[in-house]
Amino acid sequence: MAKYFLKRLIYAFFTVFIVITITFFLMHAIPGDPLGELVGRLPQSVQESYYAKYGLDKPVYQQYFIYIQNLFLRGDFGESIVYPGRSVNSIIARGAPISARIGIQGLAIGISLGITLGIIAAYKRGKWMDYFVMFVALFSISIPSFVFAAVLQYFLTVRYQIFPVTGWGTFAHTVLPAMAFGLRNIGVKARFMRSTWLDVMGQDYVLAAEATGMSKFDVTFKVILRNALTPLVTIIIPELAFIFVGTFVLETIFSIPGLGTYFIAAVSARDYPMIIGQTIFISTLYVTSMLVLDFVYVLIDPRVRLIKK
């Protein structure tokens, strides 16, 4: 068991390493460089000193080794070029919790509402309630979150001035972006929950539980719910990595100082340290969540056994 996880850990590490390498060379291969716009009209000598300051005067492979060295020896992601004096580490440390907060609140709305609606639809299968819930689910999946965000923003900040339009600092600032983010989740979770619930309801052990004379309440919450939630875990954990990136567009609409601002701007400005720093951050999160998922599987479902090849 321990050996298995060690192996997985090493694989994960190499995955991230390969991602770093590919991203590094890929971003240097695309035309345009981060200083072009900034120093384009300056005398040659000034331009050169600028390129030298950021180490961009060296060949790409040398830049790569310097970067890898700084990363693994000191955990240093480097300094942003567009925002001089700000380290990528500090930008991620500041922005990630903010993006995560929107993501988690949105996910919470999506999961809680999605599960509830899914269960209702399963119980009222074939009735108008079922059709209604499935219609809402379809609706929420098909509308892009930024469209919903724009509608929310117009109605709840301009027409009715309930929430602030933009900004960050209070709970009120998080409500609309979280709702916009959560909307899509409602549909996804409701559909998923409905089908799982129906699946579990038809299982023999549910019939057996009913036969033992358990109350309907106990059957629902102790038997069906527990078994129906297990598969849900498998779709929620990988989403945890995406709570950081799923909010990017919303961050612009609501001017939230999260990671998205920097990521989008960094790509078009060719801010190399920012691009690669964030890529590492997000790929590491994703790989980690996959590791966690493997682990959780074993814990929650005794049927899953790890077989040695």
Binding site: Y50, G85, Y160, Q161, V165, T166, G169, T261
Partner: protein
């Protein structure tokens, strides 16, 4: 898992119910009576900026509000509040409010005029080489005396080769500055001297007419050594490191959220400052800026999109002024552009035909609506020449001239192509669009259509990201491109620099090579004599936009300043960082 799901559900229900309550308790925003749109300042070629409706005179008998604050949107976080380092407009706006520049540039009787700032007075020596600034008594926000050494420090920091400042190049005309930057001269040899605490003396190595224009910008703001020592790399990057010398000081800077300034009681002219707080809110979405303006959570913004301008005007809650900006949109022809073995744009008649074929009125209307005026020259109508308006004193319009000269563009084009020995069907010209937005696309398509219609000339549009475009235009990798230039200084010279022959790098590589042009520009740039400068700049513009026709000016953009009706006291500050020290409110609800 079950419990958690249920508690989240409760929170959600709470949120939803509070929303419903909120909805019930909130009145619908009143639909304001539509006000007739004012035709205001569109044809304002004087560039007097805040025209009429925007600014009321201070002595109108109105009583300023008890509580004075002002909220202004920024579309991005400032980067570096350090006059020695930054070129970035948002940084300069903060600098203009927290620092006292050496001089100030404001409109006095509709003419941009330099007035005293930190310098009570200044003298320029007979030979035009030595500038002496006599400083007033003033203090830093912490009460320490401000001296000429603090101003000199900013200049030396910009010239420090280790700082990598993008501003260093502006100072290379100072005696030994370039040598110091390259490590070949000592600090003592540089022509920046402080004879006493109240005097700053700058010695230039050659006459530089535009040099005085630097004195109202970021480079001529003070820096204190102990702050630089204390904060090092973080100097100018975090709020605590910014020590104010101007009307406001930094209260709080939360990255990407807001930067709040409050009144600096130790400012030398603090008595005339009414505002207590200025909040710069970072709002990255244009639609959100409009929403906040409607809601009254910001008080002023510039609008460059016609639809919003018209919508805001109809609310009747805003006063507005249209400015002609100190910029020009223009086509650039690459004479070296080669297609199928020929260089169609190397022939001047081809270039002139293209420029003459474009109706500037049509282009302005189609691409900008009311948010631009047809170009009257390559140098924008707002740029001055030694305290006069450049366009007025030269009394020359290259666009009218070229259209009068070329009554039949198509015939001239045929003539030019015949000289090259090619036919119009032999080639298409690559048109490099200004960027990737929809606006850039419409611009490119407009020129494609017009040149096809008027001349039968075929363009092929290339649209790439800004970073790539910069590279392409520097490498001369385009046939025709469309560009916008703003001048950072109130001087025509800066517009001509790109077309000088012996540059290390051209922002736009066009292969233009005319010694006569270089001579005109250099002659104008190396004298203080207004008559000589006027003549030579006029000749240079004539060559560039008419005779050699390397550029075809199309229009000058307009910005509409939308300001809440209760705001007062804005002064138009073209070229200088925007300062809000004269601003106040009357009757804010």
């Amino acid at each position: 898992m079950k419990k958690r799901g249920i508690s989240w559900l409760m929170i959600l229900m709470l949120v939803l119910s509070s929303m419903v309550i909120g909805l019930a308790g909130c009145n619908q925003q009143q639909t304001p009576a539509p006000a007739p749109p004012q035709e205001d300042g569109n044809g304002n070629e004087e560039g007097s900026g805040d025209s009429g409706s925007d600014t009321d005179p201070v002595d109108s008998g109105e009583v300023p509000d008890e509580v004075q604050f002002f909220n202004y949107p920024f579309m991005a976080d400032p980067r570096n509040i350090d006059g020695a380092m930054t070129n970035f407009m948002l940084d300069l706006t903060i600098i203009g409010n927290v620092h006292q520049t050496m001089t100030e540039l404001i409109f006095v009787d509709e003419v941009l005029t330099m007035v005293p700032g930190a310098a009570e007075s200044w003298e320029i020596s007979e030979d035009g080489l030595v500038y002496t600034f006599n400083l007033r008594d003033m203090n830093w926000e912490d009460g320490q005396a401000l001296t000429a050494h603090d101003y000199a420090l900013t200049l030396f920091r910009a010239l420090d080769p280790n700082s990598g400042s993008v501003k260093a190049g502006d100072l290379f005309n100072i005696e030994n500055a370039l040598e110091y930057f390259q490590g070949n001269a000592d600090k003592e040899d540089v022509g920046i001297r402080v004879p006493d605490d109240k005097t700053l003396e700058i010695t230039l190595k050659q006459v530089t007419p535009y040099f005085i224009n630097l004195t109202y910008a970021g480079l001529f703001t003070p820096t204190r050594q102990d702050m630089v020592d204390q904060y090092g790399e973080q100097f100018g990057i975090i709020g605590d490191s910014i020590l104010a010398s101007g009307p406001f000081k930094v209260k709080e800077w939360v990255n990407d959220v807001h930067l709040i300034l409050e009144k600096n009681e130790n400012y030398w002219d603090a008595d005339s400052v009414l505002l207590e707080t200025i909040t710069f809110k970072m709002i990255r979405d244009v639609q959100a800026i409009m929403s906040e303006l409607m809601n009254g959570t910001i008080d002023r913004t510039s609008v460059t999109i016609q639809e919003w301008r018209d919508r805001l005007i109809t609310t009747g809650n805003f006063s507005y002024g249209d400015y002609v900006l100190a910029g020009t949109y223009f086509l650039i022809f690459n004479t070296d552009y080669e297609v199928n073995g020929v260089k169609p744009l190397s022939n001047v008649k081809v270039r002139q035909a293209i420029s003459a074929a474009i109706d500037r009125e049509e282009a302005t209307f189609m691409l900008r609506g009311d948010m631009a005026i047809p170009a009257t020259g390559f140098i924008p109508s707002t740029v001055g020449l030694d305290n006069h308006n450049f366009r007025e004193v030269t009394n020359y319009n290259p666009i009218e001239a070229i259209q009068a000269r070329v009554p039949d563009p198509k015939a001239l084009l045929e003539e030019g192509l015949a000289e090259l020995g090619i036919s119009i069907n032999d080639f298409t010209i690559e048109f490099l669009a200004g960027g990737t937005t929809a606006q850039h696309r419409s611009e490119a398509e407009f020129f494609q259509e017009v040149l096809q219609r008027e001349l039968g000339l075929k363009l092929e549009i290339t649209q790439v990201e800004t970073a790539v475009r910069t590279q392409n235009s520097r490498a001369g990798d385009f046939g025709i491109t469309y560009s916008l230039w703003y001048a950072g200084q109130n001087d025509p010279g800066i517009y001509f620099n790109n077309w000088l022959t012996n540059l290390e790098t051209h922002s736009y590589k066009t292969g233009y090579d005319n010694q006569q042009f270089d001579e005109y520009v250099l002659a104008a740039n190396s004298t203080m004599d207004e008559e000589i400068r006027r003549h030579n700049f006029n000749r240079a513009e004539w060559l560039l936009a008419e005779e050699d026709c390397i550029v075809a000016p199309i229009y000058h953009p307009i910005s509409s300043m939308m300001t809440a009706k209760y705001m007062r006291g804005f002064v138009n500050q073209n070229f200088a960082p925007t300062a809000f020290k004269t601003v106040y409110t009357v009757g804010r609800e």
